[in-house]
Each structure stands twice: as structure tokens, then as C-alpha cells.
């Protein structure tokens, strides 16, 4: 005989304000099988859990239903409580009467009625629950970090310092990422390279860190604790183990017309190159689309001059496979293309540049050696106009609907640096709002205005056009309510940032959720902000949402803490909700194995009794519970209905359907 206990949570007023919790408990009390029903203010609290434990013991409950918030929130909490009271943790069901009821409905009667149905549905299910035991799977004590920017570097260093092996996979020829391109950092005006490059060197020298640069993740199999990752090591046509980074090849290379991506295409580089002076690894790479030898077969000068014989024109992509216990995604961002914004004339005027291009123009290692010269004629610009929110907070479809978060601060930084270095320069900034939350951020912005006399104009720019060699910036000044035109020498666009496009493929490989803006989704916006809903996958940096360097570093360290917490375990409990075949019904048709995405189903020959002393040997499906992830694809495919899913059995779901339809 089933003895079900039902616990209805008020969640303070979150549920109780729209659902008559007492009435729900009262109605449910008379449901067949229910021997105990209670309501309490906060079921998830210590006292609430105590109430559950006590009731389980006192009323000898065989199953419990909690009517509360989403099971994604507290199912684990109540399972633990049940276990502590001696009840199998899988004899717990949660009826979601908060997110799916009280929060979306206004009418009390309606919401209460729905809550009763939801609780009844959960009761119908729990009656068919069976005690389940979680299995165990080993943990590979090695982490993978995808992306070698500051997020990836920080995460890798923290994990490695705790004593675990880490691999950084970076698609570019060097680690460093976007931060390496930046000149100064707000709000302290630290030199970006000065604080980043020592960390890059630390990575290279750390005995636990293996940097796989110029490599990409090709395939991911497995699950938390046991990922099997295939990595493509792209051919760099230079032997990484031999190259000493002497740069003689760069000097001798006759093909010097390649666009320098690191300098935002503002100058050129040879076909064989090291992206920047402090690159890690400090190893050259050949651009095969530009190399004369590789295009025509004639040249080979770099090979001739290379003192260590590192050049190999025949090098091919290679693949390696490695096992990891945890994966950190830190794929970073790129500024959006501003080509679509015709009004700013980026494509028509050389002196309309993006902020990242300005960053390179002001950097001592940049194309102008740090002297601010405008790209068109190499003159010092006397009037510079910044345009904020280019593609940010843009719901027209041209840009991005979100705030890119960093632009207000870096524009203030640029304006300040320019005024500091070239006091005779006039600086104007068109803005919609100035958003500077953060420690010392608003003070920083105010310094730009008050101390450095940067002219902030509230309003949007309608048009940038060229008139007699001058850039005319036409916009509105909303404070003075007038249309203005500023004659400028240089226009800087604060382009929105978007996740690095390669994240899309990585999300698919990892089965990590991604939102419509291509940002990876965290498990819980507030309480699990660095974890992906996919177990064992963690998120650091802008791949999860726009953020600046301090936030990225904090998030990376948080990821590292999560990864370390996972890797110190020798074994993980596996999900017991796996597929299981009824061998007496299975006819070994292989349909289930065909649809299984994990290859968890194999076939075994088994002997079955037929009666009358006779036996037969039949081929039947067998599920490996450590590999099965419990999706249930096989259960629907099975033509004889032999396959079922523990925890979500056909009978359970049918009973839920019936409970909902019973009016």
C-alpha cells in the first residue's frame, strides 16, 4: 500500500499570494494514497526540510511530493532530505507551482485550481516511482580550457596551481586573446600587455599546462568526468619544437603584403610571421594563402635562412585525442562588423575607425608606434569625435539588442588618454546613456569630463559624411535640443561586441545551451552563473555575456574553483535515470542502438526459459548505464515497447497525462 506525503510550500508570498496553499493541502489530503499533507512557509529551509524528514519517519511514507518551485531549483535538496530520513531519493517528485503557476497567473481561484492539478499529477507519477540507485563513474583528472584569452589563461593557471593537468586549446597562433590587443586598461590605466604577458609566460612555463595553440576542438564525446575530445592541430608549416622565434624568416620573407590581423588590418605583415613580439608560443606560422612557395612552388627563402630547419611546407593538420574530466569554455568575443551602419560611413572614409583599431593606433607596439596619426594621411587629428552604442542597444535588427557593457568605460579611457597625450586635441563623445557601474568606474568617467574636459553630448549621430576632406558628424544634442554638426579629423565608433562566432560550433559539440545572441547560457542566472546546464562544462568571459577584464578574471577563477571541486573527486555519481530493456519483450531488432547518440546499447545472447523444460537463446539489448544519458530516444523507437526509461517511464508519463486530463 502506497503512503504518500504531500508538502506545499508558500515560498513566502511568492506562491501563497496567488495560490491558496492551505486549500491545496486540504484538497490533496483526500487523494487516494495520500496519508499526510502539510503546508509550510519555506519548505527548502532547514525547518521545512526537518518537517519532511519527520513526516517520512512518523507516517512511514513511501513517496513524497513537494509542491514548490521548479525541480531544477530544489529537487536535489528534497532528495537529500528524503535520503537522510531513510527514503530512496528517487521517491521524490516536485510539482512546480511557482514558476509554472503562481508567478504566471493573477487569479487566485484559477491558480489554486491549477496548483491542485499539478500536485495531483506529481502524485500520480510518484506512485509509479521505483527506488533507484546512482552508479559511479571515474573522473579523469585533467581539464580542457577552450580559448587562450585572459579568461582561459586565468582559469588554466588556477586549475594548474591546484595540481591538475590543464590543456589550453587556442585557435590562433598565440594565446593572449583580445586583451593582448588592448593598449591600456580602465579604470587604472595599467598597460594591458604589462599585466597580461607575465601571465602568458606563467602558462608557458607551468609544468601542468600544455598550450595547444593554432588548434581547434573538432569533436567531443562522453560526459562529465570523462570527456573524450578530438583536437585538430592546424598545420603552421613551422616545426613548433624547433623554431626559436628569432624572426629572421620574417625579415627575409619577400611576401610582406599580408594584412596584419593583430593590428586590426591597419598595416601589413610577412607571409611567415609571429603575431606579436610577446607571443606565446613564440613560434612562427605561415599563411598558406600568402606564401609564394606554397602558391607557386618557387621561393623557399625562409627555409634557406632558418638556422634550425624548422620550416616544413609539407606539414599537414594532425589530430590528437585526449580525455578530460571538465571543460572550461572561454572563447571570448569580437567587435561586430560595422559595415551595415552606412550612416557612419566606415567603409567610405579611412578616418572612420573602430575603438579596437584606435587601441592599436595608440599602442606603442602598434602600426604607428603609439603616435596617434590618422590612417588617411598620417596627420595628427585635431578634432576627434567618438560615437557610442554603435550596434549596442539596437533593436532595429542592424545591431545587437543588448548593452555591450564595456564601451562607455573604454571610450572614457580613450578620450582621457588622448587629452593627456595631445592636450591641443578636441574630443567629443556622442552618447545615449553613460553607464559606469563598478568600483571606481564612475569616478573615472567623471575625471574624463571634469579633469580632462572631454565634451560629452547626449544624442545620437545621424550621419557622418566627407566634405572637403573633413569628416562632418551630424547629430542631435538632446540637452540643448538642437541639431549640431562637428567638423572632425577622426571618428571613432564604439562597436558592439558579440561572442566569437566559433562558439556556435563548440556549443553544439558540448551540447551546451546558447541564446539567440550566441551567448552561452548559464545554469542559473544568479546562483550558478559559471556553470553550463551541461554537467562538467563551465563558462568564463564574454562567451557567457558582455563583461570587462576584472569580471572576466573573477569568472575564470570561479570556473577554476568549480573545476577543481570536480577533479578532486575520484568518482562521480551517475544519473540513475537510464534506459532499461524488458528482456522478455526485446526481439533484438537493433532499432534502439541505431538511435542512441552515445552508443550505450549493445546486444547480448541470453538464454530464456520457454516452459516444459525447454529454453531458447535470444539476442537482446543491453544498456551500459555509465554511458546512457537518459534521453529516451530508444524508448520511443522500440517497436515492441521493451525499452523504458527509469524515472520517466511510459507508465509514469501516461499517468501524468491522465491526471492532467481528468477534470
Amino acid at each position: 500500500m502506497q503512503r504518500i506525503g504531500v508538502f506545499i510550500c508558500w515560498c513566502g508570498s511568492n506562491i501563497a499570494a496567488t495560490v491558496d496553499v492551505e486549500k491545496v493541502a486540504e484538497v490533496i489530503k483526500s487523494e487516494p494514497g495520500v496519508v499526510y499533507a502539510a503546508n509550510y512557509q519555506y519548505m527548502c529551509s532547514e525547518n521545512g526540510q526537518q518537517l519532511v524528514k519527520q513526516a517520512i519517519k512518523e507516517h512511514n511514507l513511501t513517496g513524497i511530493v513537494i509542491g514548490a518551485c521548479s525541480p531544477r531549483m530544489h529537487e536535489a535538496t528534497f532528495r537529500k532530505a528524503a535520503e537522510a530520513a531513510g527514503l530512496n531519493p528517487y521517491m521524490v517528485e516536485v510539482a512546480n507551482i511557482r514558476e509554472h503557476c503562481s508567478w504566471i497567473h493573477k487569479d487566485m481561484e484559477e491558480a489554486t485550481e491549477k496548483a491542485v492539478i499539478l500536485v495531483r499529477t506529481a502524485i500520480a507519477k510518484v506512485k509509479l516511482n521505483a527506488p533507484l540507485m546512482a552508479g559511479e563513474s571515474p573522473v579523469v583528472k585533467r581539464a580542457l580550457v577552450i580559448g587562450g584569452g585572459i579568461a582561459g589563461i586565468q582559469a588554466a593557471l588556477d586549475i594548474a596551481d591546484a595540481g591538475f593537468e590543464v590543456d589550453i586549446v587556442e585557435k590562433n597562433a598565440t594565446i593572449g586573446g583580445r586583451m593582448a590587443q588592448i593598449d591600456k586598461t580602465f579604470p587604472t590605466l595599467d598597460c594591458s600587455a604589462c599585466i597580461l604577458t607575465p601571465k602568458m609566460v606563467d602558462c608557458a612555463q607551468h609544468e601542468k599546462i600544455d598550450i595547444l595553440s593554432y588548434s581547434e576542438v573538432e569533436d567531443v564525446k562522453g560526459f562529465v568526468g570523462n570527456f573524450n575530445v578530438k583536437i585538430r592541430r592546424k598545420a603552421r608549416f613551422v616545426d613548433e619544437t624547433k623554431c626559436t622565434g628569432c624572426k629572421i624568416c620574417m625579415e627575409k620573407c619577400p611576401s610582406k603584403k599580408g594584412l596584419n590581423e593583430f593590428n586590426m588590418n591597419l598595416n601589413t605583415r610577412p607571409a611567415i610571421y609571429i603575431p606579436f613580439a610577446q607571443a606565446i608560443p613564440n613560434v612562427a606560422v605561415i599563411d598558406p594563402t600568402q606564401c609564394i612557395k606554397m602558391k607557386t612552388g618557387k621561393c623557399g627563402i625562409c627555409q634557406k635562412f632558418c638556422g634550425v630547419g624548422a620550416i616544413d611546407y609539407e606539414q599537414k593538420d594532425t589530430f590528437i585525442e585526449r580525455q578530460y574530466g571538465a571543460i572550461v569554455v572561454a572563447t571570448g568575443f569580437k567587435p561586430i562588423s560595422v559595415d551595415n551602419f552606412n550612416e557612419y560611413g566606415y567603409n567610405d572614409n579611412k578616418d572612420v575607425i573602430t575603438s579596437l583599431e584606435l587601441e592599436r593606433l595608440m599602442n606603442a607596439a602598434g602600426p604607428t608606434n603609439g603616435v596617434l596619426l590618422r590612417p588617411s594621411d598620417g596627420e595628427h587629428p585635431k578634432v576627434i569625435t567618438f560615437i557610442q552604442c554603435v550596434g549596442s542597444r539596437d533593436t532595429s535588427g542592424c545591431g545587437k539588442p543588448y548593452c555591450s557593457k564595456i564601451c562607455c568605460m573604454y571610450t572614457a579611457k580613450h578620450a582621457m588618454l588622448i587629452r593627456e597625450k595631445y592636450p591641443d586635441t578636441e574630443v567629443h563623445v556622442f552618447y545615449i546613456d553613460v553607464r559606469t557601474p563598478g568600483k571606481n568606474y564612475d569616478e573615472f568617467f567623471r575625471r574624463a569630463v571634469e579633469q580632462y574636459g572631454v565634451d560629452y553630448i547626449k544624442g545620437m549621430v545621424g550621419k557622418v559624411y566627407n566634405e572637403n576632406g573633413k569628416l562632418m558628424v551630424q547629430g542631435s544634442n538632446l540637452i540643448d535640443n538642437e541639431q549640431i554638426t562637428i567638423e572632425s579629423d577622426l571618428v571613432v565608433l564604439a562597436a558592439a561586441i558579440e561572442p566569437e562566432p566559433s562558439v556556435r560550433k563548440i556549443a553544439t559539440l558540448l551540447t551546451a545551451s546558447i541564446d539567440t545572441n550566441n551567448f552561452l547560457t548559464e545554469s542559473h542566472a544568479k546562483l550558478r552563473p559559471v556553470e553550463s546546464p551541461t554537467a562538467g562544462v563551465y563558462l568564463a568571459g564574454v562567451c557567457q555575456g558582455p563583461k570587462d577584464i576584472p569580471e572576466t578574471v573573477s569568472q575564470a577563477s570561479a570556473c577554476a574553483a568549480k573545476v577543481i571541486g570536480l577533479l578532486v573527486k575520484d568518482k562521480l555519481k551517475t544519473n540513475p535515470c537510464v534506459a532499461t530493456p524488458d528482456e522478455t519483450m526485446c526481439n533484438g531488432c537493433s532499432q534502439c542502438a541505431n538511435v542512441c547518440p552515445y552508443g550505450a546499447i549493445t546486444y547480448v545472447e541470453k538464454e530464456f526459459r520457454l516452459g516444459g523444460g525447454k529454453t531458447e537463446i535470444r539476442r537482446v539489448a543491453s544498456v551500459n548505464p555509465a554511458v546512457c544519458q537518459g534521453c529516451g530516444a530508444c524508448t520511443v523507437t522500440c517497436p515492441s515497447g521493451a525499452m523504458d526509461l527509469k524515472g520517466f517511464s511510459s507508465k509514469q508519463i501516461m499517468s501524468e497525462v491522465e491526471a492532467i486530463c481528468k477534470m
Binding site: N96, I104, P597, G630, A633, F648, I653, V657
Partner: protein
Amino acid sequence: MQDVSTEKKEFTPNIVAFCCNWCSYAGADLAGSSRLTYPANVKIIRVPCSCRVNPMFVLKAFQRGADGVILCGCHPGDCHYVTGNYYTRRRMALLYSFLNYMGIEKERTRVEWVSAAEGARFASVMNDFVKQVTELGENKRLTDLRVKEGE
């Protein structure tokens, strides 16, 4: 025109929604925590993946008197189990023709992709679906066939 005053109550359809645990159920949670509203006659059943939904469950719901059944899963390519939602898509395409054969309006079932970040989309999909089913009216075709309790 029907005389409205003689009607007992405005027809409110009963709708069963199957939501996959990873995307749509989380999307529904987000709709809740964002305090977006959709009608109370939508009741959600959590399944690990949309591919766990046997077409039998849909038929069962219609047989037991549901007026509409909606299946929500991750967007194609984003399935937590890699390929689950592709199976859902194919199976449901077949089910549509079967429902059509049985004389049940195909508009009573729907497959929608809702990600964990699309709370607003979840609410709007539900509002839209409820409206669509309300317009179709009560599902009489299959409920008439079921064995009524107490008979």
C-alpha cells in the same frame, strides 16, 4: 449567433505541454521568473528530451479529453542529447498525418523549439497555441470514443 447568456462558461481548452528538461522546461521557468503570463489551462509535463515523448502519449492525451497537445524542445542543433529533437520532428510529422487520417485537426498539436533563454518566447508560444485551440473548440472526436467513467 448563439445566445451567449445560455452558455454556462466560456470554453477554456485543456492543454498538455511536454517540455524537455534542458531547454523548454527551463524556458518555462524563465517565463515564470520573468512574471510573464499565459493561460492557466496549460499544464507542463517534464521529460528529459522531447524525443522521450511517444506519439502514444499525445494520443492518450486526446483520448482522455485534452483539447491540445504541444511539444517543446531545444532548437535544432542545440539538443542536449545531440540529436533528440530531430527524432521528435520526424515522429511528429508522421503523427500529424495520422491525426489527419483520424479526423483530428492537426492544429491541436504543435512542435515548438524554445531555448532556456527564451522565457518570452515560451509565453508567447503558449498564448498563441491556447488561442488557436480555443478557436477550434472542444476536442470531441476522440473523447467521444473513450470509455466514460461510471458507464
